[in-house]
């Protein structure tokens, strides 16, 4: 997301994410800031109350953490933009056991640096080798996970216009992201 200032770029990035989050929980995003950093440490955003309890039966709990950089960018993507550097989206059961987790952490200590999915013990999958396996995915948007939670996992949305909001905020995200590009095979 672009902005005339670093603060505006971050607000343009976080605002739609907050809207998307509001489809399933009243908790709000918290962020470490918007100042460009010289030390390559990322900023991050996460949920103010994490994991956030979702409106579902059985109960599900959502965790979201994203790393991002605020960088200068040329052309219409600038003069300032937010570049996502890592993400973690997960859904847990009521016992705190992870059911699903979508990860991308290219600079972490894990040997797997491409986007992937974990099937956790909360999913109750019997095939032992899946525990801890890194199942390849494309880049996953937060909206994809929220839509999955609502459409497939029985989470009741908190607003009637949830589908429109998720479509709109995801479209905006995909318009500005640099990978995969919109015409990439993994793109929309």
């Amino acid at each position: 997301m672009a902005g005339r200032t670093p603060a505006e770029a971050v607000q343009n990035f976080l605002g739609p994410l907050q809207q998307a989050i509001s489809c399933v929980t009243r908790t709000v995003l918290v962020s470490s800031g918007y100042h460009p950093r010289q030390d390559e440490e990322p900023h991050l955003l996460t949920l103010g109350e994490s994991p956030a309890r979702l409106n579902s039966n059985p109960r599900l709990f959502l965790s979201v953490t994203m790393h991002y950089h605020v960088v200068e960018a040329p052309g219409e993507r600038g003069p300032w933009k937010v570049s996502i550097a890592a993400y973690l989206y997960s859904l847990d059961d009521e016992q705190g056991q992870e059911i699903l987790a979508f990860h991308w952490h290219p600079r972490g200590r894990s040997s797997v640096t491409s986007p992937h999915l974990h099937i956790g013990p909360g999913a109750g999958v019997q095939y032992q080798q899946l525990q801890g396996a890194h199942i390849p995915t494309g880049r996953v948007a937060l909206e994809d996970v929220l839509r999955l939670a609502i459409r497939e996992l029985g989470v009741r949305p908190l607003r009637r216009d949830w589908a429109d909001i998720l479509d709109r905020t995801q479209r905006a995200f995909e318009q500005w992201r640099t990978w995969p590009a919109p015409d990439h095979p993994l793109g929309p």
């Binding site: 907050q18 009243r26 918290v30 962020s31 991050l44 109350e49 200590r109």
Partner: protein, 72 residues
Amino acid sequence: MATKATATNGQVHYLTPEEGRALFDRQARRYLKMSGDEFIRRWDAGEFDDNPDRPEVMRVAMLLPLGRKNAR
């Protein structure tokens, strides 16, 4: 809870460094039963390198930018 933000107008709450470290410490205690400082010490010593993908380790590790003293 310092980070229990309640804004609903699309505004996002920016954490102060102190709030960030408190959030990091709280999550380290929640997921790993240790303080944030202890997690950083053990992380830097490589004590989680055998399986950094453990869900509870990854969740705290992703919050490390909040926990470092030079955060911000």
